[in-house]
Symmetry: C2
Subunit: 493 residues, 2 copies
């Protein structure tokens, strides 16, 4: 794919444009011919595959199993849960026909009116309805519980304003759907999965997150409680990065799913659902990357180490390749993905810029002098620091360096986040300061009115009631009414 390495827009100039540039130039994704739908290019998809792999392991450790449910949902299923349909009806793709035909003047094809469906089908925006309709047949007794299924799939929400990874009409995600005998168990499951997401975000993506519970207004349509992880982007905005819902008995009642308890009495089943999507790639990009391109956490980087030989002639190339071969083998044996780039149709400078743009965590360069002096040049992408060191022990050095980079970018993001969380008790002050971004901890009186006023006047929303801060009662900064807790308020993607 021929491509010029053009300058990215600088973050300080236009953060939003920088993001769009980066997504395109680093070959992560591009707009498709279909409104709001993106093509995830191989390099972007490789990051998603690494995410999927690790999340899948973590889900299975909790006892969840993968399954697959139909993509199309009968319209009538949708109406069964009142809040759910309310939440999704306005943005769903509707299948009405099942055949095309050649048009009369044979210049093209058209929908065949004779092939109209009796009942319209909706492309899943999420699968609670079709899954709970299925669970009805799978659950009879308490012995069938808990039932914990996850599916990796595509979903469709007809969004009006879309941005690659952050908000697209079609996106890839996983959705877990669990059924439990008791309220307590279901609530525990919803929280457990939130912790799994937080763990993944922090240990794998190196993205620190605030865990908390959504306000009623911001809940998932049909949930009694929505738990969330909120990450801070470099512009101080929040990105909701994963949610886990306690659904109560809403879907069990809507689809009549009961079980016989130990006393042989029928009870409605308790439910949760939880999901993360390709949006996580957006979070990854906007947390770590810089004006030179992507900065990827080593644990999720498709290429962890790139090695570039710089040589004058074929003979020297052969000597360097031979010297590097055992190092490449040893790194690969240690599970590290290595690219050895000895292509001769691109200059080293071009290669360096390209791998920086792509966020490869470690770059090794060996030239003629290195060969003579038994040295190698090593650059880390996160700090762009370069050093020339002895070739001996390079494998162990690189292994350690990858760990250091993972830890360093997490610490950097955490420091940034912590430096931009503020307590604020004055609404006028808040209105000024929110313009510069950041997370604000403010007392809230718990009413939807206050919440709506803040949103209208500042475009900021209550992201969650955070778990991580000690809660003290106080006075709502907007209404002046008593408040039991501080909530996290921010502008968001």
């Amino acid at each position: 794919m021929a491509k010029e390495l053009k300058q990215l827009t600088k973050r300080s100039e236009n953060y939003s444009q920088w993001f769009n540039d980066l997504v395109t130039k680093a070959d992560l994704a591009e707009q498709s011919a279909v409104r709001g739908c993106m093509v995830i290019k191989p390099y972007g998809y490789a990051i998603w595959e690494k995410m999927q792999h690790q999340l899948d392991v973590m889900f299975k450790e909790t006892g969840a199993q993968n399954a697959y449910f139909p993509m199309l949902i009968p319209k009538s299923f949708f109406s069964r849960e009142a809040e759910h349909v309310e939440g999704f009806a306005k943005e769903c793709a509707v299948v009405t026909h099942y055949r095309l035909r050649t048009n009369e003047d044979k210049t093209g094809i058209e929908v065949d009116p004779a092939a109209k469906l009796e009942e319209e089908l909706i492309i899943r925006p999420t699968s609670e309805t079709i899954i709970w309709n299925t669970y009805k047949n799978w659950i009879q007794s308490y012995r069938d519980l808990p039932l914990m299924c996850n599916q990796w799939c595509n979903v469709m929400r007809w969004e009006m304003r879309t941005r690659p990874f952050l908000r697209t009409s079609e996106f890839l995600w996983q959705e877990g759907h669990t059924a439990h005998a008791t309220k307590e168990e279901a609530e525990e499951e919803a929280k457990k999965m939130l912790h799994v997401y937080a763990d993944f975000a922090e240990k794998w993506m190196a993205v620190p997150v605030v865990q908390g519970v959504k306000s009623e207004t911001e809940r998932f349509a049909g949930a009694l409680n929505t738990y969330t992880i909120e990450a801070m982007m470099q512009d101080g905005k929040a990105l909701q990065s994963g949610t886990s819902h306690f659904l109560g008995q809403n879907f069990a009642k809507a689809f009549d799913v009961t079980f016989l308890n130990k006393e042989n009495k029928p009870e409605y089943v308790w439910a949760t659902s939880w999901g993360v999507s390709t949006r996580l790639i957006g979070a990854l990009i906007m947390t770590h990357s810089d004006d030179n391109g992507l900065v990827l956490p080593p644990k999720l980087a498709p290429i962890q180490v790139v090695i570039v030989p710089i040589t004058k002639n074929a003979e020297q190339l052969q000597a360097i390749s031979e010297k590097l071969a055992p190092v490449i083998s040893q790194l690969r044996a240690a599970g590290i993905s290595v690219k050895y780039d000895d292509a001769d149709n691109k200059r080293p400078g071009f290669k360096f810029a390209d791998y920086e743009l792509k966020g490869v965590p470690v770059r090794l360069v060996m030239g003629g002098r290195d060969l003579e002096e038994n040295t190698i040049e090593i650059m880390r992408r996160d700090t762009l620091e370069k050093e020339t060191r002895s070739f001996d022990g390079i494998v162990e050095y690189v292994e350690q360096l990858l760990e250091d980079i993972q830890a360093n970018i997490y610490k950097k993001a955490l420091d940034f986040r912590n430096a931009h969380i503020y307590e604020c008790d004055n609404y006028e002050e808040f209105k000024e300061r929110i313009k510069d971004g950041g997370f604000f901890l403010c007392h809230w009186d718990g009413t939807a009115e206050t919440e709506a006023k803040i949103k209208e006047e500042t475009q900021a929303t209550i992201r969650c009631v955070p778990f991580m801060f000690e809660q003290t009662p106080g006075v709502d900064m907007v209404s002046g009414k008593p408040a039991t807790q501080r909530v996290l308020i921010a502008r968001s993607y």
Copy 2:
């Protein structure tokens, strides 16, 4: 999931019903509320995951990369390649609207007529059109070639008669789409991927296949050549299990995808596409399974070894569990998936029948006497042979046994297939014998007329011109005209 182990229909009584019973009772899949769409249950999905994992490794070894393209395809893209639209227009799900609204009397929801799409969107039945529209931007020069992408996704073909795994309206598959500078390279790629499929079928699924090329009538819509692997089911019918297409320059021309060759002259790109689907699970079931249930090849079995203790009391259970613990660890360390089933709410007889139904390749049973005598009972699912042997060396014994079972079921299927391949030179004889199933090698004059006549009179079709048999010229058994080769004719799924 409470479930009674009811008798399966016997294969000899009704092969088709046996298959349907088995899919349901072994918890592989079930019909959903949506016409022609199935739910793939966790046990069935676990087989698909194992298939996916291995195929993905094999694809990547050929240099293919994964990516993701939009599920919805603009109607106009469809019409660009004339044969392609002809092949798929009659069975595609069409999205016409993007919103629902509450109906007038507020009793339900309906399609919002104001939210009609300007251009209808088709749920992909296959992705050549959207992918070649994308490739146009990715390919400029011969340096961008070959381009080899694969995607794992769902597709939709509105089939009138559906059967779980074999033919469903929505199914899961992978589709590889490659672009090449020369005709020769593209043809080689199409054949290479056919060999990958054949390798996977034979070495992993233990399903012998006939590789060959389709007749013009049976080609993929838009292809110049379709290569196929055809497997023989136990009723002697053929199951097309994977196809690889040489698309020539058809899609490049339809979407105007050219590249500058080394002489800096524009040329149209050469294409292939190749796919296998959840249909492979159908092939797996119908090749190996028996009247007691599934027989799974160890390499794809979700549970490879089940261990059941039979004990009188808690003390004995503890002693047996302690004795078995190191064996379980060692088997798992060797990469073998082991289930230790000490649940006390089901009788051993029930467990045995259930694991037979589920096709677990090896079952180990240890009771009180085994504990005393340092023995263990071992049963292999493929032959149902049972023996009691020394507990010493059981890990190595099981490892070897799993390999033996894999080899044995392949040999059994191969022997069956080979015993049911016939040369036949007399059409009257053919018409009689085809009723009992089997693969027939017959001379064919190469005309669509003869092909249609055979299909109409016998419901059998030309599966392929096979590569594996030496070709000798002869006389077409139907028309009496000269024929250059024998083709493989069979009834099929």
